[in-house]
Symmetry: C2
Subunit: 474 residues, 2 copies
């Protein structure tokens, strides 16, 4: 496992050095990792917990790391010795991977000595911001089509990790395969891919290239038909080769179109394949496709069975950063009490929610669908089925009484006193869990353009605490 202990902003180290020098570094603190709302984000798919857990368990500053930090001439030897002995001793709560989460809901909460909790800020953000970003994008792409979606973006990923963990996030969100062989090996997910234009170009003719490929993979023959002219040569040549395959007792897989007007081309190609008796042959499309193009292809009746999605998915092209933050929610005072904290701001959206919290989701008893979420203080009792009034935390006159419901807490215990207490689910389990979460959401919240805004309210106690701290800060 890679040692990511130094993968942090310098200021995390200067700050924990400060706490160490002030003698306050052992004080318990609470930090929440969450994202704020944006116009593009109605919901997000929490992702990256497994790698975050690996990071936390593996934090260690080896001799070379300590020597490097010493060379910065910022820290004293006592502090470096503290770092060399670092071992996480706190609690972590988090929503399971694949969960649907909304703005301001903690995805992960660290309760630990500030020396530890502060040190981990940057790396936890890097890991969870990235995978949650890509899982969210993949969820929207997968939701925009009835076709199967394969992740094809490695070459456009922002570096190796972005390709590897982006593929993982995409699979969690419902992609059926990836082109990335290393991701296939690491995560045990299906890999797919056939040939490129260069394969066709390396032969004297397209037909010859197709025949060679068919000989190679007679039972997995998917031919890229747009090197020269999709309808004029690609599809006719594919059909010719498919007939030869059929004569030999094989069943061809289909064709891939990577350019041009794929709505029109797919319909024409479908017609040609059907007329030649290859109604079973699949049509795969690729080439700069995103969720909006998928919606438009669907609207135009494109005949496409599966998609290879590259750049737009693996970089979350339309919004390439999630903007997740990690904010202090409480800190122990001199007397040993855990004191809730808020970060104030001129905009309500940037004011944080104080204290150690939990999130509960209301589900309708009849439909099983999610109704609203409630952020509460962790020691409050959960709503118990009795009519419950929720209210918008900004426009507080907007109220709603929830009835005929049950609730679920979203977060699980991951670390307790530094010990991992969470049994990491397999990728298959995460994917299935994500699917069940998506099924519990009404369609209007999943809509790609102008989705209905899902209610995320604060409990009365949390709201009162927040207001009291705001008044005090004034």
């Amino acid at each position: 496992m890679r040692n990511l202990s130094l993968l942090t902003d310098l200021y995390e180290l200067t700050m924990i050095y400060g706490y160490y020098k002030c003698g306050t570094h052992r004080r318990t603190s609470v930090f929440d990792l969450f994202f704020r709302g944006t116009t593009e984000l109605s919901y997000a798919v929490a992702c990256g917990l497994e790698q975050a857990v690996d990071y936390v368990r593996n934090i260690h500053f080896d001799e070379a790391d300590i020597a490097y930090l010493r060379s910065l001439n910022l820290f004293d030897e006592g502090f470096l010795a503290e770092l060399a002995a670092f071992r996480f001793s706190g609690d972590i709560y988090a929503v399971p991977e694949g969960s649907i989460v909304y703005p301001y809901e903690p995805i992960l909460t660290v309760k630990a000595p500030i020396f530890e909790a502060q040190l981990m800020e940057t790396t936890l953000l890097t890991i969870i911001n990235h995978q949650t970003l890509i899982a969210t994008k993949a969820s929207k792409i997968v939701g925009a089509t009835d076709g199967a979606v394969m992740e094809f973006g490695l070459r456009r990923a922002q570096g190796p990790d972005a390709g590897i963990y982006g593929a993982r996030a995409a699979m969690i969100a419902g992609c059926v395969g990836t082109s990335n062989v290393l991701a296939g090996q690491m995560f045990g997910v299906p890999v797919s891919g056939t040939h490129a234009h260069s394969w066709v170009m390396s032969f004297d003719s397209e037909l010859e290239a197709f025949r060679a490929y068919a000989r190679l993979f007679p039972d997995a023959c998917l031919l890229l038909v747009d090197t020269y002219d999709v309808l004029g040569s690609g599809v006719p040549h594919a059909i010719e080769v498919f007939k030869e395959l059929r004569a030999q007792g094989h069943k061809p897989l289909g064709i891939r179109i990577d350019s041009g007007d794929i709505a029109y081309l797919s319909k024409e190609a479908r017609r040609m394949l059907d007329e030649a008796g290859f109604a079973d042959a699949k049509i795969c499309a690729s080439g700069d496709i995103d969720e909006y193009i998928l919606l438009s292809l669907k609207a135009q009746g494109a005949k496409i069975d599966s998609y290879g999605i590259g750049t737009k998915l693996i970089t979350s092209f339309s919004m390439p950063a999630l903007g997740g933050v990690y904010k202090m929610a409480a800190i122990q005072n001199e007397q040993g009490q855990l004191v809730p904290k808020i970060k104030i701001s001129n905009t309500m959206e940037k004011i944080t929610n104080p204290g150690l919290k939990k999130v509960v989701r209301f589900f309708d008893n009849d439909t099983g669908k999610a109704i609203a979420d409630l952020i509460m203080l962790k020691d409050e009792p959960n709503p118990d089925g009795a009519p419950y009034v929720i209210f918008d935390p900004t426009e507080t006159w907007k109220q709603k009484t929830v009835v005929n419901y049950h609730v679920k807490e979203l977060m699980v215990d991951v670390f307790r006193d530094g010990r991992l207490v969470y049994e990491m689910p397999t990728l298959k389990e995460i994917t299935a869990y994500h699917k069940s979460c998506m099924n519990s959401m009404w369609e209007q919240y999943k809509r790609i353009t102008k989705p209905h805004i899902y209610k995320v309210d604060l409990s009365q106690n949390l709201y009162d605490l927040k207001m009291a701290l705001l008044k005090k800060a004034d």
Copy 2:
């Protein structure tokens, strides 16, 4: 060093399996890595060669890799044995890192048996696309301000590698430091950072937090002043602490503003610091800044000495993928001749340039500034100083006779017959080289909005070859 050998699209493996089964896998091929023009890209800063070289030298399929590939039930044992014995045996030419490159110019060319050249496509693209993307963005950001730029984006990077190699690319393009400690250790570049809002929040008051920080770093005291109210409390508290520092014989560094109207706030803060006798104290700004905001801050006379740039740089937010491609330019035929190839398309911009090529840049003898680039066949003689007619490869009637010039070839030999023949420059050397390249560009090509388009023409021989191949394909 990490083994990235499996970090590839599956189709590279199915294709080279195909060449292997056809018995053509030893045929020499030529592939060019380049990017196409986009509205945002006038120029790019080539970056990532060092990691690409590391990858090429380190390709090896270990037992676990071979076992995984065997488990896919796609390949025969002879092929797996070929892979297990893989060692790069070809030539690679590339522009040095830090070079200014334009659309369609090869950044890297591989001339090698197709078995090898095809295998490396995806990984070379992942590495060079990413670093070139970030270096290019950083170049535009650095160019938009007279202030110093620090790279602060790790928490928003698309995974650990994106943070690490993004920081490297940013330094090459002129950033003066990074917050990323691991990047500092790996590349020997300056790391910077002070404290966050949570530091201030962890104390009972802002003043107390500032005093504690000043005690800690009396000679490197840079205070974040926007936790509560920049002008109402942050700057006055900072000045109070700076006076105490001065009384103790220390010189305070300055302040950082991370939110609000930083044009206005910086001017007011500058006035307050000056009036208090701290004309030397620097003002650093951060918080969602990009090149356009920098231009507008400059236009409004903001008083900012340095910037910490995060999300917008590390993700190249406005264009998060470069779209670099790797296209076959030639392949050996049965008779052993290297035959130039093109990929045709309905749009001229997507038709590739055939053959083994080089790029020369014309420089004006008087000013030393770059005039135009010429893509030529590798075996053509370079323009020798005599008047030389260049012409636009699409609008061919646009001609220009270049006089009073000298030329430089952009690409260097990196591998010859599988042997590394290029002495890798240090990061400092790359940064200095990049600076000299930027200095040789006229301002109009560097403009952020609507830059003048730099001429990249084809030699007459290359143009004629391309046209002949186009006609033949028709």
